[in-house]
Amino acid sequence: MDFTKLSEFVPYFLPAAWMTLKITTLGILIGLFIGFPMAFGRLSTRKWLSLPSKGYIALIRGTPLLLQLFVVYYGLVRLVALAPLPSAALALGVHNGAYIAEIIRGAIQSINRGQMEAARSLGMTHMQAMSRVIIPQAMLRALPPLGNQFIIALKDSSLASTVTVRELVLTSRQLASSNYMMMEMLAIAAVFYLILTGLLTLLVNHWETKMSVSRA
């Protein structure tokens, strides 16, 4: 591999990396937006709240992301024609929502029952106990698996290449088809992924230490 020659291609990858970051960020935000209410729905004792959540989680976790992406991009066309970027972000968001819901639910359930009892015994309402006592502790526990999920989301954003979003993978394939350097282009994309996942890991680690530093 001629590295000086390869560096010429890097500028082509910068907008692609930016696109990957955009899909991922939007996907995670949509995922959090869906995941939180779904987690609480799943935990509810009321059937009309818990059943839809359970159904959503089962449906999303039981089918491939690629299929979900095609459903949004090709399948929904008769209802609403979404551009490639919003399609990819929406599919990634809906997909991650299910996993985030399960992470949050697990974290909330992992908090000792005595915490809720102590809060309620002081006269706090269920809502107060949740927001003041349970959720702050649950969030700390949810952070590592959430960080993990965010990294998966970043890598899963590569599937957006199948619906013509010019992110890292599609860009490397398009460049290779004109310069016949498939291996090299894929390697550049890989380096960009490593940088992005590395940065994301640092960010999550930073949050973790920031949140836990006070109670050491």
């Binding site: 009892e117 102590a118 015994s121 002081l122 309402t125």
Partner: protein, 246 residues
């Protein structure tokens, strides 16, 4: 009458844990409930502040019938402080924050006022120097004393203690019992589930022996410890008093 319990029943599935328990506690009275594990002592305490829902029976606090409604239950919980076997301090809050959480959130007391009251309470349990510490850095005995201060911060009329020293190392039991004894001397109405016979002897007005979901016998600590009427009580006491921890 501070608290009145009439014919309380509670089952967990097939297990009939409370089989018709009735109890009257006067203002300022200290009642100690003893009995083997599984006899229903803890369940009784937990039914009083509705951490468990009883199947039947009635509870009156200061003459008011407590209904199974969110509103009534929250009212009772404000009046009734609870201290748990495993402390259940909030680990993400400092000692001070633990103590002011109830007053500021439930009573909407201004933070400053709550904090100065909290310092008084921490002083009383001997932990004012730990106000800014997190629970993780405290010993079990200190945690339980914070938990007592946290419950007292709501200015309850009754305090329930659910085996408050059972999870403690033996050398830390004394400091918690001393705080409880002082509280009893100040006239706090208390219902205490414990195996600490020393505390029962020193502080209790009445000792109740509970067995298989009913009150088998009750009396002053002197009578209960020297001349128990029931065979089961004798048996239980001889076992407890023979153990090295008491």
């Amino acid at each position: 009458m501070m608290i009145q319990i009439k014919d309380l029943h509670k089952s967990f599935g097939q297990l009939h844990v409370l089989r018709g328990v009735s109890l009257n506690v006067e203002e300022g009275e200290v009642v100690v409930i003893i009995g083997a594990s599984g006899s229903g002592k803890s369940t009784l305490l937990r039914c009083i502040n509705f951490l468990e829902e009883s199947d039947s029976g009635e509870i009156f606090v200061e003459g008011n019938h407590v209904h199974h409604t969110e509103r009534d239950i929250n009212m009772v919980r404000r009046e009734v402080g609870m201290v748990f076997q495993h402390f259940n301090l909030f680990p993400h809050m400092t000692v001070l924050e633990n103590v002011i959480e109830g007053p500021t959130q439930v009573k909407k007391m201004p933070r400053k006022k709550a904090a100065s009251f909290a310092y008084q309470l921490l002083e009383k349990v001997g932990l004012s120097d730990k106000a800014t510490a997190y629970p993780a850095s405290l010993s079990g005995g200190q945690k339980q004393r914070v938990a007592i201060a946290r419950a007292l911060a709501m200015e309850p009329k009754i305090m329930l203690f659910d085996e408050p020293t059972s999870a403690l190392d033996p050398e830390l039991v004394g400091e918690v019992l001393l705080v409880m004894e002082e509280l009893a001397r100040e006239g706090m109405t208390m219902i205490v589930v414990t195996h600490e016979m020393w505390f029962a002897r020193e502080a209790a007005d009445r000792v109740i022996f509970m067995d298989e979901g009913v009150f088998l016998e009750s009396g002053t600590p002197e009578r209960m410890f020297t001349e128990p009427a029931e065979e089961r009580t004798k048996e239980f006491l001889s076992k407890i008093l023979a153990s090295p921890n008491t």
